[in-house]
Structures are given as C-alpha cells and as structure tokens.
C-alpha cells in the first residue's frame, strides 16, 4: 500500500535509502589485534594502533574478511575478489589516527538484493548497493565532567560492515522491514549480533520526498545513528513531513546530516555548512590491496546456513504453511528451529498454529523469549501429536497447554494424570447418545423433519455428558447413524 503524504499542493511520495552499520562478530578488532569484548572497562581493549601511536601499522584480521564475504553471500551480492582499504581523513578527538580506515571506490561486496516481508505476506525486493568494511571510532563522553570530555577507545578499531541499500523504499514500513530482514540475515549468518540497543547495528536514514509522478530525485537528508526499528520508522515519518512542509512553504531542502530526537519525535540539523567535510580519501599505503585467493569465496559459500528466504519457501512448499505464517516463523532463527522441532514428523500446519498462536501468544504475555520458553519444543510437538492421533481434542489441548506453560510438564503426563484422554470407545459414547435421544424424542423428530442444525445441539449434549472427552468425529457419526439412519 502506497505511503502518500497529502499536501496542500498535491500528493507526495517518499524515497528512502538506508546505510546500516553492522558490528562484525569477531574476537579481535579489524587491524590491531585488540579484543572486541563488549562491556570492558573504558580504554581496556586498546592496542597501540587504536590509540594512534607513532609508527603503528594495521594488519588485516582475516576473520573479519570472512565475515564480510559471508554477509555478502547472504545478501546474494557480488563478491569483489579485489578490494582496497582507503583512508577517510578527518579530525575528531575519538579518532586517534586522524583518519578512519575504510573502503571507498573498491569495496569488498558489490550489488545484491534483499526481499522484504511486508504485512499480509506480501514481499518486495530492494537492491543492495554495496557492503564495505571500516573501523569504528572511539566514544566521546561529554557528560562526565563540567569542563572536560572523556574518550573511550574500546570501540576504536572494531570492524564494521556498512551495508548501503539502493534508494528503493517508499514507506516507513518498508524501511522497518528492511532493517528487520537485514538483522535476521546477519543473525542467521552469525556475522553480526544485530543488537541495536548495544549499538551493534546503527542506521543512517536517507530520505527525500517528491510529488507523485515525478521521476527525478529531489535533495535528500541523512539522519544519522538511529538505533531501533521503531525510531527508523518514526524518523522517516518526521523527516518526510518536515520536507513536505518546507516545499509547500516555498522553501528548499538542504543536503545535510541530521539527528533524530526520539523524545521530541523530530529530526534536527547536526552539522552546519562551514564544517562540510572533505574526507580526502586515498588508498591506505600501509595496507596492500585485498585479493581473495581462488576458491576462498566458494569455500565460505559451502558453510552458509539455510537463510530466512529459503527457509520460508521450504516451509510454504514442503510443510504447507501460509506465506504469513512462514515469514513469522523464519524471522528469527531460534523461532524457526523451535518450530521445526515441533513439526518434525507431524502436521506442519497444526504445529505452526500452535507455535504462532498459542506459544508466541503465551510467551508475549510472560515477556519471555523463545530461548526461555517454559514449554520445550519436544513437549509442544507431543501435544500436537496427541491432537493429531485423536488422543485429545483441540479444546482439551488448550487446557493441557495452559498447564504445560505453568509446570513445563510433558503433555502425556498431564493428560494421564487429569484423565483427559478422549473417549473413542464407541460403546461408551453410544450409551450416552442413547440416553440423550431417549430423553429428547421431540428434537429427534425435528431433525428428521429437516432441521439439520439441531444435530449440533445433540453433539453439545453428548460432549457435556462426557466432560468433553468424547471424540467429536465419532459423536457426529454415531448421532447421524442413529437419528437419520
């Protein structure tokens, strides 16, 4: 559904591109060998290179290269066997070298594509422009002392992947879906933990607006360092509205860097024009061009896990799930794995229903993640099996599930202890039916006269008489035989 801003001068549409910085999962930084462990004391994970000491030189951490290539493959992107590291020169107190080692015109990964999962099971493809590697800067802390700023270099030199999309999204929802999907892919791949609240994934949002029907792009702004999916969507809404208002008031949008203020729900200008940077990129002479050896990419490709899109297709085609259910289940690898264990050798659709509706619903209420689920995949699988083989009815299963959530017990144990087993013994059911028919001859006549609906009433009575344990299929069949037959 198109996201349109209705202005006084007409309808406006959005053009959105995202640059996402993903912190690479690796034990050591990209060039210095220092640890990347999160949460260390300030300035503990700092090698001489990270502090910009004289004469220190960068040496590539091969693990980071592997992670970047893996991510590139996960984005179905071109892997460049030749790439270069360049220096991006600027001065800041948390940038000890006076330049960021990055990749400029020769990145390690080129164009790729990502499929967004939208509401109602719809999908949309968005192009990936490139993925390049770079080092993170340190952290400036301006609020620790009245007149001084503090610098923590633990983060300085940590490997980031900057993943740049093409400007092919047109609504906050699509942008949100993009970030969620990217996070899902890097988590599947194990190349980034995707924790936005820890800063492992940070988003720069490029937004411009134009009148519906225009083909040229108008001036865009870049809103930096947005750190949650919700804020990405809010920032886009706010920024697009601001731009439309500017145009409609006869103003112009200035190409600039902006910041999103989540408390006020607005973006504001970050850098003034006087400080427009000329980064003076040039190839880093301390590093040789990066040339991937023959077979390197193929070897990594062989180790790729099944990714969300493939998993989703398999769930649809082999397990008969709906596109919506499949995309809900594959969004997180842990959920998908849980589901697969539940569904293994059982009714896939029924299993999906139980996982999505009942389990996810219950976990939501408890505020727990899938990894903390009180019901194990094995037990939920058994519950599904008990339904499928008519040991219990779907209605009874819900009661059993409630108990499972509370106690974590196995379903067959609960069924046994509480005597909830479904009655499939026709003799017992027949006896109950006969009794009810005998007491309600008038109603039997009604049915025989054509009032089919009354049959439901009989079913209800039989179920009541058996405390819900009678197999509804058997009850139905016997009732028909006895009344109509």
């Amino acid at each position: 559904m198109a996201y349109i801003i209705k202005g006084e001068t007409g309808d406006w549409e959005l053009v959105i591109g995202l640059e996402v910085h993903c912190q690479v999962v690796s034990n050591a930084k990209l060039f210095s060998g220092a640890s990347t462990k999160f949460g260390a004391e300030p300035n503990h994970n700092v090698a001489f290179l990270d502090a910009g000491m004289p004469g220190m030189l960068p040496v590539i951490n091969e693990k980071c290269i592997e992670q970047a290539v893996r991510t590139g493959l996960g984005l179905k992107a071109q892997i460049n066997e030749y790439s270069e590291f360049s220096r991006k020169n600027y001065f800041y107190a948390d940038l000890p070298l006076g330049y960021q080692i990055s990749q400029f015109d020769k990145p390690i990964v080129g164009e790729g594509v990502m499929v967004l999962d939208l509401d109602g099971g719809e999908t949309k493809e968005v192009g990936i422009e490139r993925l390049h590697m770079e080092i993170d800067a340190g952290k400036s802390q301006h609020d620790q002392h009245p007149t001084k700023s503090y610098i923590d270099l633990n983060r300085a030199g940590v490997c980031l992947m900057e993943i740049v999309s093409k400007p092919e999204m047109s609504s906050p929802e699509e942008a949100g879906a993009y970030v969620r999907k990217l996070r899902s892919i890097v988590r599947y791949l194990g190349t980034c933990d995707g924790n936005m609240d820890e800063g492992s994934m940070r988003c720069d949002v490029n937004v411009s607006v134009r009148k519906v029907g225009e083909t040229e792009l108008r001036t865009r702004t870049e809103t930096k360092n947005v750190n949650s999916v919700r804020f990405v969507m809010q920032a886009i809404e706010a920024e697009a509205a601001r731009q439309v208002e500017l145009y409609e008031d006869g103003g112009e949008v200035v190409q600039e860097t902006r910041l999103f203020d989540p408390t006020k729900g607005e973006t504001r200008s970050m850098r003034s024009k006087e400080h427009a940077h000329d980064y003076r990129y040039f190839p880093d002479p301390d590093l040789l061009p990066l040339i991937l050896p023959e077979g390197y990419v193929e070897n990594i490709r062989k180790t790729l896990p099944e990714l969300p899109d493939e998993k989703k297709n398999r769930f649809i085609n082999e397990l008969g799930l709906s596109a919506y259910d499949a995309s809900v289940l594959v969004a997180e690898k842990e959920k998908a794995d849980f589901y697969e264990e539940v569904a293994k050798g059982r009714d896939g659709k029924l299993a999906a229903n139980w996982v999505i509706t009942n389990l996810f619903g219950a976990l939501n209420k408890l505020g727990k993640g899938i990894d903390e689920s009180p019901v194990s995949a094995e037990n939920l699988g058994k519950l599904v099996e008990l339904i499928s083989n008519d040991t219990i009815s779907g209605r009874i299963a819900k009661d059993v599930f409630e108990i499972m959530i509370e106690t974590g017990d196995a379903p067959e144990k609960i069924v046994e202890e509480k005597g909830l087993k479904q009655i499939t013994d026709t003799g017992a059911i027949e006896a109950a039916i006969d009794e009810i028919i005998a007491a309600n001859q008038d109603k039997v006549e009604e049915i025989r006269a054509g009032k089919d609906k009354m049959l439901g009433w009989f079913v209800g009575q039989v179920m009541k008489a058996t405390q819900g344990k009678a197999n509804p299929g058997v009850v139905n069949k016997l009732l028909r035989d006895k009344i109509m037959g």
Partner: protein, 492 residues
C-alpha cells in the same frame, strides 16, 4: 696505533671476537668521541649509560660464545625509530616528550643481534628535508665543515646519522630513506648509505613520513659494513603488511669482488642541464672503474625521469598529511597550553606550535593534492606516473643488471644556503627520488672529492630484492675508487 673509533663494523667485530678489546672499551671510546664533538649536534638524545650496560652484557655473551651478528658494536639510531623507554622525537617539538612503550622492529632486530645503541641521531623534522636544517633540535654540522672553511650541511634527512658515522662517533648508524634521505647525506659526508628494496625492512615502529616510500637502511663506513648491518635489520615482519615475506640471502657473502660480465646501465636522462662538470667527470670515472673490473657498460633509457621529482612531491606530502594527523595533542606529545576555546582550537594551536615550517608546508601541499576537485589532477595522476617510472626501470633491467648514476647533483653546501627556496632544496633529490618511487634498492658509495675537497658519491640502483648484486657491484666500485679521505676534524 689504530683508534677504536677508526674501526669498521667488520674489523671491530673481528677484534671483539679475537679479544683484542672489549665491547665496553669500544663503546667508551665512542662515548668519548660523542662528548668531544657535541658541536656536530649529531645526536638528539645520548644514552651512554644504557650503551655501557648493553656493552657489558655483550662482553659476557662474547665470552660465553653466544655473540649475535653485531654483538657489542656501538651504533647510532636515527631518532625516527621508536625505542622502548628512550625518548623518540622525530626531531619535532610535537614529540619532544614522547617516550615509546614499544621498540620498532628494526631497532629491536639490531638489539637482538647485539648492537649497542649510543643514542638517537638528529634528523630533519619527521624526515622532511635534505639538509638537516629543519630539526627542532638544531642543525647538524657536517664533519667536513673544517675542510670547506665554513659550516656545511650533512645532507638529510638522516643527517645526524651521516655526521655521526663520518665523524666517527659511532661505527655505523641506521637511516631511513623516503626520497634520498640515506643516500644523499651519505654522499655529502663520504660514507656508504644503502636504501634497501621497499619491503625489505619492517616499517613497524618507525615514525611514518610517507608510508609507500619509507624504508630503513644502514649508513656505514664500508660496503661490507652495509651488508653486515642490513643482515641484522632486515626481514619479514608480520606486523607490517608491506614487508616482504621472503627469506634473507647472506648479504656479506655476496661481496665476491667479481662483476665480470655484469651489465651496468647508464641512464641518459640523468645527464641533467646544469650538472657540474665535476659530477659528470666522477660519473664517467665510475663507469670506467666498473668497466675495468670486467663489467659491460650499456646506455639505458628512463624516459619518465623528468616527472619523478614532481610526482614525489605530490605522493610523499599526500601520505604525510594523513600520517601526521595523529599528532593532535590529545593523547601524547606536545599539547598547546593556555586558553583553548574548543577542540579545533586545541588542534590548530598544538599543531601550529608543534610542527616546523617545512612540515607545515608539506602537510598543506598534501592536503591540497588530496582535496576534492584536485585529487584527479594531482594525486591520481602522480600515481599513474609512478607506475610509468617503475615500468621504466623494469624495461631498463631487460638490458642491464645494475644502474649507475651520481647520488646528488652537488657536494655538501653551506648551512644557510638554499634555505630561501624550497624547490631548489628539493632538487637535491633529483637522482635518488626515482629509485624510491620504484621501490628499488639504491646505494651511495663515496667515490671521489670535489674541487673543494668534499666527498662525492655515486649511486648504484639494483633490481627489486637484488641487494646481493647491488652490494657486489658497490664493493667493486669502492675498491676501485679507493676512497680513503677523512675530514680534517679527525686529524687525519
């Protein structure tokens, strides 16, 4: 009687081994010479106590038979090499209080080989200069000054090392060469200076000037000494991605004295306009000496030579402008004092106070050539020409094995001369810069005296990683030239 300071590395090594004198005696003799010749200003930081300690340890090792290749040999260390716990300044005010907590690979290699460090030698600030007149710690005086009757420059940037070796304050010294900083001062002071192939010596721990050009090398009294010292300095280093992952040959063993059949290339483009006749004559003399030793002389062409200097003065400042960005007063080194308005003010004042004029000039040139709108016209084009210059050499080496040129267009000049004109100063490097751009090994061998009685060197240029042929040829040239002159100050 031979003074201990007269010795070469080779003869001192043999003397120590034979027990003719101790490392402590040898070191003390040099410490005395340093003390007696402070006017040369060859050292920024002297470490006599440390040297004597090291020498005593060396004596013990020699006695126990554990001597390293340079055990007990006192040397000077260019103050561009970071030395653990010993102040390292790069001759700049901005690092005047910097004491590294680490040791550069090259100085560490020398230490491991047993070399005794006498101190840190003076240089042009951040190795930017050709006369050692940009040091924040004062000019270095060429030991040959008395011969000229005026104060001469020792050349640069490794001027302190050159003066210390020529003035016999140390047996040998380390240098670094970016565009001629080992070879030109060697020529100006009558010693041997070898710039190895780029990648032969690790750059780790060497204060960077221009990363794609910087290369450490030995500055010695003889070619043999250069071979001995290179052996200990060089080698692959995992900490330097640009160092060559190759095993080292035995450089000293390459000095066979036999160059029969070797082809010596004479590049016609090096006959530059206005080159003094004495340089032309010396060059011809060198050609004849190598010919007499059985080599074949061939003319070669290096057509892009005329662009080399301009190319160098784009590439080197560009890299320097970025390499020197880290000196910002935030973490170490000089920091501007007094009222500071904000971070930018801290940067401007720190760097304005900390860097000398020449360094600031090159940072500005480098920043300019990398700027948006100028990058393609300068930096990108310079890189293309650099490739062409490398190709020139590759083509030339199809018809020759070693190239012979003058090292410099003149003998040492007086302190104060050429100072008003940076471009004229840059011309000192005209014969050494192309080699640097191509990453090739070059060596300056003292070959004769100018009309004014000052030393002049010839440069030999070898194929990449063929220091063996280069040293062999240099050895033959050295023997044939029989350069024995010493500066008057040594009382010879």
């Amino acid at each position: 009687m031979t003074k201990l300071t007269n010795l070469t590395l080779a003869s001192a090594r043999d003397g120590l081994k034979a027990g003719e004198f101790s490392a402590v005696e040898l070191t003390q003799a040099h410490i005395d010479a340093m003390a007696a010749n402070k006017d040369l200003n060859a050292f920024i930081t002297e470490t006599p106590e440390l040297a004597l300690e090291q020498a005593a340890a060396s004596d013990a090792k020699i006695k126990s038979g554990d001597a390293g290749a340079m055990e007990g040999l006192p040397i000077g260390m260019k103050d561009l090499f970071c030395t653990k716990d010993v102040r390292t300044t790069a001759a700049s005010k901005i690092l005047d209080n910097f004491i590294p907590p680490y040791e550069s690979t090259v100085s560490g290699n020398l230490k491991k080989a047993g070399a005794v460090m006498l101190g840190k030698t003076n240089l042009d600030e951040f190795a930017m200069g050709s006369a050692n007149i940009t040091s924040a710690f004062g000019n270095v005086k060429n030991p040959w000054s008395a011969d000229a009757g005026k104060d001469l420059v020792p050349g640069g940037s490794s001027g302190g090392s050159a003066a210390a070796v020529a003035g016999e304050l140390c047996l040998a010294a380390t240098g670094t060469d970016t565009g001629g900083s080992i070879r030109q001062p060697a020529s100006f002071t009558g010693i041997v200076g070898l710039k190895p192939t780029y990648g032969r010596c690790s750059r780790w721990g060497v204060v960077a000037f221009a990363s794609s050009l910087d290369q450490a090398g030995p500055m010695t009294k003889t070619v043999r000494d250069a071979a001995i010292m290179l052996q200990s300095m060089a080698g692959y280093d995992v900490h330097d991605s640009t160092s060559a992952p190759m095993d080292l040959p035995n450089f000293e063993a390459a000095l066979t004295g036999d160059i029969k059949g070797l082809k010596i290339g004479i590049p016609k483009e090096y006959r530059v306009d206005g080159m003094p006749q004495e340089i032309i004559d010396l060059w011809k003399k060198g050609e004849d000496m190598l010919k007499d030793a059985g080599a074949e002389i061939v003319e070669v062409s290096l057509p892009h030579t005329k662009y080399a200097l301009a190319t160098y003065y784009i590439v080197a400042p560009a890299e320097a402008s970025s390499n020197l960005a880290r000196y910002d007063g935030v973490r170490y080194g000089h920091r501007a004092e007094g009222e500071l308005k904000n971070l930018d003010d801290l940067y401007c004042k720190t760097r304005g106070q900390g860097f000398g004029d020449e360094v600031q000039r090159r940072i500005m040139i480098g920043t300019y050539v990398l700027s948006a709108g100028y990058y393609d016209a300068y930096y990108a084009k310079a890189q293309k020409i650099r490739t062409l210059i490398s190709q020139d050499f590759k083509n030339a080496y199809e018809s020759c094995d070693v190239i012979l040129t003058p090292t410099c267009p003149s003998a040492a000049f007086g302190i104060g001369e050429n100072e008003d004109d940076p471009v004229k100063m840059y011309l000192n490097d005209v014969f050494t810069v192309p080699t640097s751009l191509a990453g090739l090994p070059g060596i300056s061998v003292p070959t004769g005296l100018s009309e004014g009685g000052l030393p002049l060197g010839l440069q030999l240029i070898g194929r990449a990683f063929d220091e063996e042929t280069l040293l062999r040829t240099a050895g033959v040239l050295e023997t044939a030239a029989g350069f024995t002159a010493k500066p008057k100050m040594l009382g010879a």
